[in-house]
């Protein structure tokens, strides 16, 4: 396999956006191309992550995007893996460059759903569950993670305030991110008094519904060297879990995260303590707690306490979600995994401004689909 690099990244603001799905995808892609200092003609193939294009009357986004970028003859692949679509498209792009099929490709993720309203979005997102056992029985995504949260609270005797600390920290980071959806500081008290969505999770335990797009350019190291600033992809892992929560051995861990992380760490030849920051899938506060344990930063059962003790803050033991995470930066589901890579690129090339992790050399991204039924973990390093 060849070394693969990320050469440029672009993102729209995340939030409620007015422009169409193809416009926001084109905006992020154009920013990535220009940021990389390449011509669109350098791009040999594209990987497009999207889940609900149907909501904005545009599926088969790839050719539409390639036409807009002036390269209609380049092949594209659309990838749907629920909320993990972005990182999984990134992985396919990575594998194709590493495997020698292409020297330079683009991976773009996009979602546009907020115009459909709370009920439509809640309903359609539930189709990402194992529908026969979960969505059909009235489970929403907040409800599925709330079920994990209750199991976790029972097993490890933590409090809802401990979970709230995750949201407070992510809002603090997101307030420093000009592209974040929810840019305001909140307190544990704000979380505790927010409306219950699916007990024990409240509004401020949840990520919002967001629109947005993110895009990155992947290429060989040889190609990268003759262009702009780049970072190396040093580890890539994928994993799966039983689609329904009921089929998992434990309700307080996500097997696909562990499988993907093990592969990525082994490929990079490093252990979790060598990671300087991590962008993890915090669709709900409980998810970040479980992720930080499954990724090997904390012992099982201690992640919530660690967050409450401030060990995951911006320049602490292991900065988690310096971007603000899904919770504050927002969660346009097809874009999120690529947005995490864009954040890792910005952090490792000194473009993260106020939210920079000091002296960061190695960054991790972790993104999953549904309740972690599919997952990808990547590791990045400065060259």
């Amino acid at each position: 396999m060849r070394n693969v690099c990320v050469l440029g990244a672009g993102s729209t603001r995340y939030g409620k956006l007015d422009d169409s799905i193809s416009d926001i995808a084109a905006q992020a892609s154009a920013d990535a191309i220009q940021g990389a200092g390449i011509s669109p003609k350098d791009i040999e193939a594209s990987y497009i992550a999207n889940v609900f294009g149907v909501a904005d009357k545009q599926v088969h986004l790839g050719p539409v995007l390639m036409s807009t970028l002036g390269i209609p003859d380049r092949p594209s692949l659309s990838i749907e893996s629920a909320c993990g679509s972005g990182s999984i498209a990134f992985r396919e792009a990575y594998a194709n460059v590493a495997g020698g099929f292409y020297d330079c490709v683009i991976a773009t993720g996009v979602e546009k759903v907020t115009h459909t309203g709370t009920n439509w979005t809640t309903t359609y997102f539930a189709y990402c569950s194992d529908f026969f056992y979960e969505g059909q029985a009235g489970a929403s995504f907040p409800g599925l993670f709330a079920s994990m949260a209750r199991a976790y609270i029972e097993e490890f005797k933590i409090t809802e305030e401990d979970l709230a600390a995750v949201a407070v920290k992510n809002h603090e980071n997101g307030a420093k991110n000009p592209k974040a959806h929810l840019r305001k500081g909140i307190t544990v008290e704000d979380v505790m008094s927010s409306a219950v969505v699916a007990s024990p999770l409240k509004l401020y335990d949840c990520c919002p519904f967001s629109d947005g797009a993110s895009s990155v350019i992947l290429c060989t190291e040889e190609f990268a060297k003759s262009h702009g600033k780049y970072v190396r992809v040093v580890g890539s892992g994928r994993g799966g879990s039983p689609a329904a929560l009921q089929g998992r051995e434990r309700l307080t861990t996500i097997p696909s995260t562990k499988i993907a992380a093990k592969q990525a760490y082994e490929m990079a030849g490093i252990t979790p303590d060598k990671v300087d920051f991590a962008e993890v899938h915090d669709c709900f506060t409980i998810a970040e707690v479980v992720d930080t344990e499954d990724l090997g930063f904390f012992e099982k059962g201690t992640g919530a306490r660690a967050a409450a003790d401030g060990r995951t803050g911006l320049n602490s033991d292991i900065p988690v979600n310096p971007s603000g995470g899904l919770k504050s930066k927002g969660h346009p589901i097809g874009a999120t995994g690529i947005g995490q890579v864009a954040e890792a690129y910005d952090q490792l090339t000194g473009r993260a401004g106020e939210r920079s992790v000091r002296g960061a050399e190695v960054g991790l991204t972790h993104n999953f689909g549904a309740t972690g039924a599919s997952c990808a973990v990547h590791l990045f390093a400065r060259p």
Partner: protein, 121 residues
Amino acid sequence: MTPKERMAECARRGRFLAASCSKCSRTNPCTARFCPSCGSPDSEPVEMEGTGRVATYTIITVPPAGFEEHVPYAFVVMALDGSDLRISGFMAGISAPADLPVGSPARIAGFDERGIILERT
């Protein structure tokens, strides 16, 4: 009938349809077409008592379409008695965590447009 239809038919009678692996004898839900332990396609159907205990649950106040009139309701994951299998489903009439401590006894009580229906016993 597909495995899901058979699962639903059993649930209407308050029972759970498992499949006992002919090769390694692990018990799986009948919807598994190959045994997750050993990969065997061969199994014998086994009807189990649809009783168990609440493993975890949530009470939903922001519902998906079709569930508006049921709010608040619970989505419950139940551990089945006498096995390491769990089954999840819809439970009506739960409005506060005090209504349903984890570990509460429950049972399969039917199947309709809300999927597998569970109730407290």
